[in-house]
Symmetry: C5
Subunit: 283 residues, 5 copies
């Protein structure tokens, strides 16, 4: 995740980090060059590039904006849902910490809270496609075993155990929700349809503008391409909130947050460093 103060008005135009321009500058440049070729051909080669009215191109552009905006909304919602699910995980870990305060000082509480730390870290690794030797599920099973033991021994009342088990269910729900997002992409046909239409459209755009805009056409076409390709690329990035790309969620940072919170509650003094953005990027 990119974390930076909003640069000054002018500074904004020179920010590269976090911008999609790094992913699409080749395509935008290509449209610009096609634009130059089209204007040159229109003016120098007779009849090769006709002079057209821009209205039909305007229609397609507006339609495309509407559809892109719909897909962007869907992808942003996925990203935000993922963020909320991790928020639920962090919050539930703290709930469990508070709910287990009756066990303060016992080794079982340490086991319980540290298994949550494992859970958070392993969840992050799994979602990023780099699973550890043991799974997040194993960590949850470990926590469940600790609770069951305590309940059987009568050190937790039925109500206390129930509340803690429900918190573990919420941890599980958060992870499964994230896995649902990770393995259910936005229907592939949307991506394909919009991507294709956007690329074909921008490629023929200079032809539509050459007659009315002349040498301004390449610039305007490139601006349109920047907006459309940029939104397309951004939607793609947000569609996969666990991908480790620049605008994806900082899962390692979240796991560290959980770890600090749990270890501090256990009275540990050697805590990990709080997560910090490196070069404006929090991972």
């Amino acid at each position: 995740m990119i974390l930076r103060k909003r640069p000054s008005m002018l500074g904004l135009f020179f920010v590269l980090k976090g911008s999609v321009i790094q992913r699409i500058w080749m395509q935008v440049t290509a449209i610009f060059l096609i634009g130059i070729a089209v204007v040159w051909a229109h003016r120098n080669l007779d009849g090769v590039v006709p002079g057209l009215d821009p209205t039909p191109f305007s229609l397609i552009g507006v339609a495309l904006s509407i559809f892109l905006s719909f897909r962007n909304g869907a992808c942003y919602d996925r990203w935000w849902e993922a963020r909320k699910l991790w928020g639920l995980m962090i919050q539930t870990a703290r709930d469990i910490q508070r709910q287990s305060v009756v066990l303060e000082g016992t080794p079982e509480r340490r086991q319980l809270l540290l298994s949550l730390v494992d859970f958070a870290r392993r969840s992050g690794s799994q979602l990023r496609g780099k699973p550890e030797a043991k799974s997040a599920d194993d960590a949850l099973a470990e926590a469940t075993r600790v609770l069951s033991k305590l309940e059987t021994q009568g050190r937790l009342s039925h109500v206390q155990a129930l509340v803690l088990h429900e918190s573990l269910n919420r941890m599980n729900a958060a992870l499964l929700g994230c896995e649902r997002l990770a393995n259910t992409p936005v229907p592939f046909a949307y991506t394909l349809l919009l991507h294709r239409t956007a690329y074909i459209y921008c490629t023929i755009l200079p032809v539509g503008f050459v007659d009315t805009l002349g040498w301004v056409a390449p610039f305007v076409s490139a601006l349109v391409a920047y907006a459309f390709f940029g939104l397309d690329a951004l939607a793609e990035e947000l569609e996969e909130p666990f991908s480790g790309q620049l605008n994806a969620l900082p899962l390692s940072a979240y796991a560290t947050t959980v770890e600090i919170s749990m270890r501090r509650a256990l009275g540990d003094t050697e805590l990990p460093e709080p997560p910090k953005a490196v070069n404006f990027v929090l991972s």
Copy 2:
């Protein structure tokens, strides 16, 4: 569901699997041919095809995009709600597995968890319109019976039984939610209105563009038709998330996921294969 890595920039234009182009290429081609006929007639037959201003066509196109976008949003929401309901089913199955850990090793737990496997598989078959001999409801009734017996025998406390019964209620809620989606289509009149308007519009589009675009008109008309028919066809596919079409939900894979998870918890070693996409399609 289509699962594939995003192909390279150029590769994207040659992907057929998962594209709606397979369903609409005839219609798009028809618009293209109409376009050619219109241009020819406009140029060769006097007064048959008048030269028109494209602005009114632009207006209708934008209006249509807005309405199509609304319907697409509604259909996508249905698809995503269906996905969430199946997520709830998978998650609840795992909750029940954890909640029944006190019964570990008993034949009743095996009965309980296997009835969930039946439930998931039969739910999938029912939603796809191919019900098995016994219904998903029967599987749930079976699970309820097991729980009631255990409660009566005093092997489950009232609180434990309550929690498990509530989980079964959630399983039921997930299935009924899916059935609600399956038997309540988007109001038929929407489909009809948008479909008709889109087809009439694209058919007369070449007439609107012939004067200003000339021989480019068939191409532009075909591009508009591709976007509009494509979104219409895609919305139709997402409207029925259990249909078994390419972009529908992979219910068999979900049922297998539940089965693996339940059987592993029971200590079985001969587990079914994890679901894999065949030719990019997960079913």
Copy 3:
């Protein structure tokens, strides 16, 4: 509710059932005739109908589409919320059936489940404005009485009674939610504003198109009118999901579903016919 397989491509254009065309054909025809009159006047009467640029008309048309789309979304959401509330009713009835399994075979269970059947049927009648002699509330009060008696007699534990009472609360919530929808229309001023603007707009549309489209103007105006009046009429129909109109919810069918489910659980063998669409309409 209209239930029918999507007709073939061509068939779609000849479907009348469920189409809004039946409600708006007079208005669309009127716009068409006005269009013809305008073109005739423009060509034959000097200076009566001026030749205008279509751009301003295009602007109003797009603005109108955006506003109509907003209202359509609001009405569709009402319709879908109503569907969900009935889904909640059906699901809760089944939950109660399962929660009362400890009472299997007792006359009290029969009383309880049959009062739910009454509740569903009377709710439907009330929402459609044709209340029966006894109200849905009375059915719920009956169910409450049965439960209280069983609890007092010690035949239901406190926890069991609590769970059942909460289910009755949910039944009540579903009905009150439906009543909220039924007696709170979308603010009347919206309907008025959009309806008036749409009708004035379509009436003057031929004047805007006559100069650039000529004899094509009546056809294009009629197409625009079809889309706008159609969406307006459809939104109106969905706004009242209990009205008994073609696209409204099939409340009788839902009540029958509840009845079949309850009676089967009671072991009855003479069950009502499962609801079926008659002439594509499920009511």
Copy 4:
């Protein structure tokens, strides 16, 4: 709230009650007169009013529609949320009535249910800015006292008391939700920005249309002004759902509904009149 049957097609154009036309007719007329002045000046005074292309005006109009539509959606959502919160209040009152059935015939039940009647009536008065001598909070405190007394006396079990206390929490949540809506307007800067842009835009609109539309420009400008000012005024009205304006929520009617329902449950026979729309307005 305006409650009326949808008038006939023609009748719709003569409805004043509930229309925003009453609030904006002066502004719309002003735009119309400015339009006439502009056309006259354009034709008779040389060079004072230039002839302009309408395309840039079209662009601003569409942008404005999109932004107005966004604000309208936000205001409508506030109005609907307020409606839902009152729905929750009415429903919870009925839940409490059913949950307190074990107390039937006792004076405490009368106290409890009548305090809910006070709560609903006073909530309405407070939200409309005309608080009574005693606050809604006092009514809730009264109800809490009654419950605590009953619990201490052992006339309500812990579980029964818990359920009733939770219902009171919901009553409180509903009121606080309404207060949140009442004292958190849509950010003032939105109102300002959209209002200013809409008014400046409509004022200069005739200048943009004078050249292409001539004497039709004032009419078209007035139609645009009607739609834009109307939506602006309507959004403003819905933004404050408790204001007592025509399209606001009928809080008195809701309070009366609660009163009738509670008094009937207490066996009272002299019930207040059911709320009725007077001159199409329910308050």
Copy 5:
């Protein structure tokens, strides 16, 4: 938060407080001056500024409106979610006050309720980036300790303690939800993409309008810039609902509301002043 009665029609144009005009007047003026320079150059310098058709500019403008509207919606949703979370905090504090009524008059109740006051005030300070010496978490831990002590001493039943602990969980959830909003900005790439496109677009807009609008172009360009820059600036302000800017949430006022409510319940008579808007601003 700006709190003021809507000024009169004309007054609206002279309101500065709360308007975004203060943040963007320099940029709007710059666009206006660029516009003047462009018109002058177009008329006096041969061939430096070409005369262009405004249609392509119209297309980009509409696309930009759609994307800005999407981002605005996302930012407004953040602001409203933050408001709801603070509403939850205020409501839960009142719930705890009512739930602890059995402890009336004890010093523990005073400790409990005052720790909620600390919690609210410190939460506000932390979210605004000015943390106090002790954290909001400490206040919650304090409350938890009080409850645990009371439970251990048998002065609260298990059920009563459970209910109060769950309320504390909700307080925690509200704070963590706010922190989630505070440290997860809208993806930076969106801000960058839309900001850049909007500024480039408005800068070249006068070139697009100079030929058709002449000396009116600077005014129209400035109006477009006002709307676009204004919405961009406003979205930025709402994106950070805890920033202390004019349109941000009045966290101090909310904390004071909690304090008054808690202290009054404790019987204190020296209450803080109810929060009031100073110069139309509530902070």
